[in-house]
């Protein structure tokens, strides 16, 4: 095991972690603002990934641009899902929420299977053929672009929440929805728009992923589980913690794959997860709710 190989894995994992962060932030925001842990999160992402494949094939756009083109469509899907399924379960028992969103996950998976079949889809791209070399380390260009796009999107979200009046209202709603109402904040509208925008942001994440990744009907589950892991590891309700957790998990996953094999990576993530829960029950930065 050479040092270069480990460094290579760490860099790739870090870049991948940046994309995980964007996916997990959307989940964390929805959980924070309406208290619903959406188990169909990864499946909504999967819809976005198929969308990127279709848009790229039809227009020849790069997956990153196709992802941005897909944003309005994903927002519309988010709107429908929120109004029909999520709004009725805001404030319901966690088990009801889990059952409903897991059910939605199965429905989306089955629909994708019927529509696209079980075949693997990806977006062919010349970018992959021209990696960047830094000494012994090779950085895949699509991965790097995906990382940058995801980072910009996450940065925009952070800016919105910390520096705009509507951002303050979103955070106030997350912290104390009843008090937010008494301040005149239209809490239901805030919840709807947060869900719509979180779903829209998955289109951007889907574009980042499709630069180098593939999509199948079952890819959603993997991302749902990963996002849940990141959100809990970061400390429930702590967005900065989720950001750090995503990068840590990305690196850990890549290192495990490099040292052992890729089949052991998910197990290693759970070992890391268990250890973190024991040692840091309030999240990596110690600022979230206890699990």
């Amino acid at each position: 095991m050479s040092l270069e190989l480990l460094l290579q894995a760490a860099v790739s994992g870090f870049l991948m972690g940046g994309i995980y962060a964007l996916i997990a932030l959307a989940l964390a925001l929805v959980f924070g603002v309406m208290g619903v842990l959406n188990f169909a999160h990864g499946d909504l992402l999967m819809i976005g990934m198929y969308g990127v494949v279709l848009v790229s094939a039809a227009t020849g756009l790069s997956p990153f641009l196709a992802g941005i083109v897909m944003v309005p469509a994903m927002m519309a899907i988010g709107w429908v899902v929120f109004v029909l399924l999520i709004r009725p379960i805001v404030g319901s028992a966690p088990l009801v929420q889990a059952q409903l969103t897991i059910g939605l996950s199965f429905v989306i998976q089955s629909a994708a299977l019927l529509w696209f079949g079980a075949d693997l889809f990806n977006v062919p791209s010349e970018l992959a053929a021209s990696p960047i070399r830094l000494g012994a380390i090779v950085i895949s260009l699509p991965l790097l672009i995906g990382f940058v796009v995801a980072l910009v999107a996450s940065g925009l979200l952070a800016w919105f929440l910390s520096a705009t009046v509507w951002g303050y209202r979103v955070r106030a709603t997350a912290e104390d929805p009843v008090m937010a109402q008494l301040c005149g904040v239209p809490v239901q509208r805030v919840q709807r728009w947060v869900f719509v925008c979180a779903t829209g942001s998955l289109a951007i994440a889907a574009g980042c992923l499709m630069g180098f990744y593939h999509v199948t009907p079952v890819v959603g589950l993997q991302f749902s589980v990963l996002s849940l892991l990141i959100v809990v590891l970061g400390g429930l309700g702590d967005l900065r913690g989720a950001m750090v957790a995503a990068l840590v998990l990305g690196v850990a996953e890549a290192l495990t794959s490099a040292i052992f094999n890729s089949a052991s990576a998910p197990a290693a993530l759970y070992v890391l997860f268990g250890a973190a829960l024991l040692l840091k029950p309030h999240g990596l930065l110690g600022r979230g709710a206890a699990v």
């Binding site: 009046v165 303050y168 209202r169 955070r171 106030a172 912290e175 104390d176 009843v178 008090m179 937010a180 109402q181 008494l182 301040c183 005149g184 904040v185 239209p186 809490v187």
Partner: protein, 234 residues
């Protein structure tokens, strides 16, 4: 009438808490509601502000029926509720709390409102960029009142503003409230400290078991035998 409540019945689940409460307040009046724990004082305010649905009866503000409006609509009409236990947004800064408080007012008035609140509570201006969660209880209460004023209200409802505060802080709090009273703001005050309430308000209602047991001018209530025995401990 600024506020006019008639035969209001409300409660939670199967239980009625208020059994036909009627209250009238004129513009600029300061009125207190006193009564034992569990009498329904907080439920009364929560029903007026739309957090609890009225089961029957009417609530009119500025002549307009507000029963059935969403809780987030009522502050837009100028009626703002400062709930018990302050409920500041602890993870937001002091100034962000105030800006959220201005959600019910037109965006153009935010700057002036902010200046006025900092004028009334200079401490909030000094701590504008600190997290509200780090403030002391008294400072949080001032923030809660300041946040309500950001909506440019015509009337505020205060639920136990002195609860859990040190006597000196309570005094400061009431000095600020006195300024608001003199500026002509209509105030409905729920207060466990009956001396304080009767001192501050010109009239008061005594709420017992969800009914108005007694009402009158504060000066008269101070000398009422029932009030003296039950609430003033004389």
């Amino acid at each position: 009438m600024k506020l006019s409540i008639e035969a209001l019945v409300s409660g939670y689940g199967l239980v009625d808490v208020l059994h036909g409460v009627s209250i009238e307040m004129a513009e600029g009046e300061v009125v207190a509601v006193i009564g034992p724990n569990g009498a329904g004082k907080s439920t009364l305010l929560r029903t007026i502000s739309g957090l609890v649905a009225a089961r029957s009866g009417t609530v009119r503000y500025d002549g307009r029926e507000i029963g059935g409006l969403a809780a987030s609509e009522i502050p837009r009409l100028g009626l703002v509720h400062v709930p018990e236990a302050r409920h500041v947004f602890g993870k937001l800064t002091v100034e962000q709390n105030l800006v959220v408080g201005a959600s019910a007012a037109p965006a153009g008035s935010r700057k002036d409102a902010l200046a006025e609140v900092y004028d009334l509570f200079p401490m909030l201006g000094q701590k504008a960029r600190e997290l509200a969660g780090g403030l002391s209880g008294g400072q949080q209460q001032m923030l809660a009142v300041g946040r309500a004023l950001m909506a440019r209200p015509g009337m505020i409802m205060l639920d136990e503003p002195s609860l859990g505060l040190a006597p000196l802080v309570v005094e400061q709090m009431y000095e600020a409230l006195d300024g608001l009273r003199r500026s002509g703001l209509t105030i409905l005050l729920v207060e466990q400290d009956v001396y304080m309430a009767l001192d501050f308000a010109s009239r008061a209602y005594v709420l017992e078991n969800g009914r108005i047991a007694l009402a009158g001018a504060s000066a008269a209530l101070r000398h009422d035998d029932h009030v003296r025995r039950s609430y003033l401990g004389i």
